[in-house]
């Protein structure tokens, strides 16, 4: 069974815990993510506030949980957008080849010449930092990987008999591309999408940390770390440590799953 793989199992457990905690726990906590408590600012972790409170007396735990919700949503949206856009363009590019392919490949070259994070930063700075813009920016900066992976797969698959057979019975090009080729060329892109989930969380948090992504007071991993960063020096380690650890674990979980899936699919090809 798949779950015999320790990495996959660990990754799945981490993420299952994150999803479960983020969806169930907030309803058991008597505070809201934005609810301030003037009398209880910068409290260290205690039974009432298991992760302590921040400058405004907000409960860190509930903010972290809401942050997990938002980060997971962003990650999924990013991966889906990049996957859909990337595979559609990649299939097109690989199937037609020639000048079309050359142009698309040079564009992806240019996009990949920038570090993804810098590219995402530039785009959010340009579009304005709302959540949809952050998603678009990150998805855009990751789409070249999907384009290239799918294109490479299509290049080898388009020579196969069933493509020729499909043309032979009179299928138009778009049907061959998106009904016959794309589903058969999806595997590497799907693996990439799982890995992309982890990166997307890190990038979203990173952008927010730098003040270019999601803004305070929205509870989001990067925002929380940024808010708490100054407190570490004065001894209040809990305001930034807990959100940071949670982000790392989520990214770790996705990467474990992605790595594992990549190994499995690579084995199957052999």
């Amino acid at each position: 069974m798949l779950l015999k793989d320790r990495r996959l199992l660990t990754g799945v457990l981490i993420l299952a815990a994150a999803v479960l905690a983020a969806s169930v726990l907030p309803s058991f906590i008597p505070y809201g993510p934005l609810q301030t408590e003037p009398g209880a600012t910068l409290q260290p972790p205690s039974l009432n506030h298991p992760m302590g409170t921040d400058h405004f007396g907000r409960d860190i735990l509930v903010r972290v949980l809401y942050g997990v919700r938002l980060d997971l949503r962003i990650a999924v949206m990013v991966a889906l957008t990049a996957l859909v856009a990337g595979t559609l363009v990649g299939t097109f590019s690989g199937y037609y080849g020639g000048i079309v392919d050359d142009v698309i490949m040079r564009i992806t070259d240019v996009m990949m010449a920038f570090p993804s994070f810098v590219l995402a930063m530039a785009i959010t700075a340009m579009l304005g930092n709302t959540i949809p813009n952050v998603v678009l920016a990150i998805a855009f900066s990751y789409s070249p990987f999907f384009i290239r992976l799918t294109r490479a797969e299509v290049l080898s698959a388009r020579e196969l008999g069933y493509v020729e057979a499909a043309r032979c019975v009179g299928n138009p090009d778009w049907r061959i591309m998106y009904l016959h080729l794309l589903p058969n060329c999806l595997t590497p892109a799907l693996v990439q999408a799982t890995l992309c989930l982890g990166w997307a969380i890190l990038t979203a948090a990173g952008l927010a940390f730098l003040g270019l992504g999601i803004r305070p007071p929205t509870p989001e991993g990067g925002v929380l770390v940024a808010e708490g960063a100054g407190d570490v020096i004065s001894g209040q380690w809990w305001t930034s440590l807990f959100p940071g650890v949670v982000i790392v674990f989520m990214a770790f979980g996705f990467n474990l799953i992605g790595d594992c899936l990549r190994d499995i699919t690579a084995q199957e090809e052999r």
Partner: protein, 323 residues
Amino acid sequence: MTGVERRLRIQGLTVSFPGQGGPVSVLDNVSFEVFGNEIVGLVGESGSGKTMTSLAVMGFLPPSGRIEQGEICFKGRNLLECSQAEMRKTRGREIAMIFQSTRSALNPLMRVGDQVARVYRIQRGLDAKEAQEKAVAALNRMGIPDAERRARAYPHQLSRGMCQRVLIAMMVACEPALLIADEPTTGLDVTIQAQIFELIKEVRQATEASILLITHDLGVVAETCERVVVMYAGQVMEMAAVEDLFARPRHPYTQRLLTSVLRVDKVIEMPQLDAGLTEDVAYSIAGCRFASRCPRVLPTCWEQTPLGAQIEADHWVTCHNYG
């Protein structure tokens, strides 16, 4: 010569590919005809241009291939002058092709019944339900037992012989006027081979299709075809009715080809085997491409390309010194 209708006429077809030191013509002045409702065998060793000829008819030449001259007339229409859209309409509805590699010729992620049904939907505009029924009926006709259940199977769940039947069902779904079968039984065992050829003959009878059967198996040709076209190094060497060709081969290449067939009913000396085609030598010389291996070579053979000569009612030979 069964029908009077000239269904496919290939005239002087020359196709070249860029090679080191200039273009290499892989088809050189290929001409032959396929009449209505007949099975024509196209034989020759690997690299002789059989498959290239069929790809040219389908409009599937690789992008680097260049058609230097000639025409491919299908029902009086030159396919080489057709637009992409016209070719798409012709493929499937008028000309269909059964490929060599069976397993990969079916989409691995689609149920085989859906793949056949799709053809009916594209070409006949049937709705999903009708198409599905037609597909099951077609699979049934192809001798697939329990077709209704098999239609729901994926290609990897079927044997290669079954896959080949599915592919044939797909290709004859729209009753094409010309069916090209490019070594349709490669990799199948002999029993299945025989069944597939029976099937192809049945298809011909049921749909009045003409069939161009590409093979290097002379036994199959003798049993299945009415006429034979023999190719060597991109040129047509000899063309005749089957009985005629097997009884009285006139071209030295055909003669050697026939002596190289092992027969169970005769004890013969080990046939004299040649090395395979060496592309550089064969494809680049002026004159007859078979000259370097020909036992009856004349000095003119090296200088002058022989022209096809009709020596009997239905027997053409491309040779300066045929026997």
